[in-house]
Symmetry: C2
Subunit: 334 residues, 2 copies
């Protein structure tokens, strides 16, 4: 095959803002496959808040994305050539495909062959993808909600947050979402069936508002934000509350900002806070996927998407996501 690849590569690191021009588009010819490798024609790539960390050099959980390499990204696609007997031409896969049209990968880069089903391919990057897996792991493995618990979710309309809210409803919890606009609030109430939603740009005193709508206190808190929203919610946690730190999009990564010390709250409430990194759950990927798929097919999980077209739109989509102006899972159709 003599295929021309288009890649979106990193040229500069954020300082500190993530801007479109940190990236560049390059084209080259797809090389020959080595043993064990296979070639994937990429259908969709995922745009995620964690990318802010991946392209930075500040101490993190993974190596910084290298310059002139395709931006690290989850994607779905179809195998069109293979030198690996376990991966056949025609198989659909989900995994680390990068921001590019064609991706040469090894099995370690792939999370899962997508089982044959009538689910839209793109859903495997949303509520059935990393975001759904993250929500499932954080809520069910770390928060372990009981029936009737009150669950608060930040970035409630986001692709992780909305999955958390919906899974919490499946487990008969009372769900409260925090989001940034009335448009997203409407979306949260109608598409993701939150019991209550607070637009933090409308209601400044989240802590007092929570005391009104959840006087019984908060048992589980799934946080993607940090900062002042975190503080306000922590003021309302119950004894034995479980808090997941899944993201910190609302606070700078570096230098570390100051905020109220939480030691006394943790002690008095015998509460637990734990960081979640979805990489730690990759050995359970298929198992969690199947549970999510079952809920999805039963209509218990709604998957909303915000799709841009053409791999060259990926940087713009990332900036849009980090500005919070997307509505639904941000994807790029390649």
């Amino acid at each position: 095959m003599n295929l021309t690849n288009t890649k979106i590569v990193l040229k500069r690191r954020p300082n500190p803002e993530v801007l479109e021009d940190l990236f560049d588009k390059i084209t080259d010819t797809v090389r020959e496959l080595n043993e064990e490798e296979f070639l994937v024609e990429v259908s969709y790539v995922s745009i995620d808040p964690a990318m802010r960390g991946w392209i930075s050099t500040v101490g993190n959980y993974s190596e910084p994305v290298a310059f002139n390499e395709p931006m690290r990204s989850f994607g779905v696609g179809k195998i069109i050539s293979t030198k690996n007997i376990k991966f056949e031409v025609g198989d659909f896969v989900v995994g680390w495909l990068g921001w590019q049209k064609y991706s040469i990968v090894k099995p370690k880069n792939i999370q899962m062959k997508i089982p044959e089903n009538d689910v839209p391919l793109s859903a495997n990057l949303g509520v059935l993808g990393l975001n759904g897996i993250t929500a499932h792991a954080g809520l069910l493995d770390i928060c372990k909600p009981n029936k009737g618990d009150t669950v608060v979710v930040t970035t409630a309309a986001g692709s992780v947050g909305s999955a958390v809210g919906q899974i919490a409803k499946i487990f008969d919890c009372k769900t409260i979402g925090i989001t940034s606009s009335n448009e997203k609030k409407f979306f949260c109430l109608n598409e993701f069936k939150y019991d209550h939603v607070i637009n933090y740009n409308e209601i400044k005193d989240i802590s007092s508002e929570l005391k009104k709508i959840a006087p019984q206190g908060i048992d589980c808190f799934f946080d993607n934000v940090g900062g002042e929203q975190f503080d306000a919610i922590m003021e309302n946690i119950n004894i034995n509350a479980r808090v997941v730190v899944c993201g910190t999009i609302g606070m700078p990564s570096h230098p570390i900002p100051n905020g109220p010390r939480i030691n006394r709250t943790l002690l008095v409430k015998r509460a637990r806070i734990q960081g979640l990194l979805i990489l730690d759950y990759f050995n359970k990927y298929s198992e969690i996927y199947n549970e999510l798929l079952d809920w999805y097919k039963k209509g218990k999980l709604n998957n909303k998407e915000d799709i841009s077209h053409g791999i060259e739109t990926a940087p713009k989509s990332l900036v849009k996501l980090l500005n919070g102006s997307n509505l639904g899972k941000q994807l790029v159709k390649v």
Copy 2:
């Protein structure tokens, strides 16, 4: 019986310092027992850092100590009169006896009848008492150390800290203690067998010192202090670290002070922080006691005491403890 009781009662609340003259000594006559009650002649009472919180009105895990009532305190003593068929004259008990010579109690105030053994009675308030139970619960139930883990303990010479350090050694961990003087450091190394001890009044940069003595990072952190010591240690935690917040003696309770936000650290390290309140483990008191007793009898747990004489010395002993000038478990022999 016509017995005269001596009680140390609370007269004022701290504002914010804990001073001797917050308390007053009163005497009265021991009243008749009601059904189910029994009378304990108190032998020793315990002096604990948590008392700072108990006598304050700031939001806490238990009701503030009432004025003109004996100061809330653990103690050991002997039953000298009873109207409860389950508690006989001559039984020794440990429980909430208060700062007084004689205590009329009900079963709910008692944690345990002390089994007949050749252990000094006072040890039931130290490494075999609340402090040992706290150390055991926090380290083994929350931190769950693995063999070879590095465990850091603040207030390392204190009655809880020293028990944590010793239990961690039983589980083949590397133990690092943080303490406030070279006298305590010597005590930690020789009596409690810490592998390393940092005197924070001598070595100001705890974080750098930890990088030298524990370049492999910290897996378990049992904290009784909060504040800047907490920050320095958190800079050195490993992936999947487990942190127990057992006390906050190094930071004001109110208003809540600011410090570096830990969300990013928790996320990147997939670490867990949990508050510990020993009241939650009272249903396991006897079970944990028996395990501690076994280690004690085998010489694996050293119990050091700092005993003052006469119930009227209790307030002075509390101030001494909060100043950190005791050496060993602070007790009052009544």
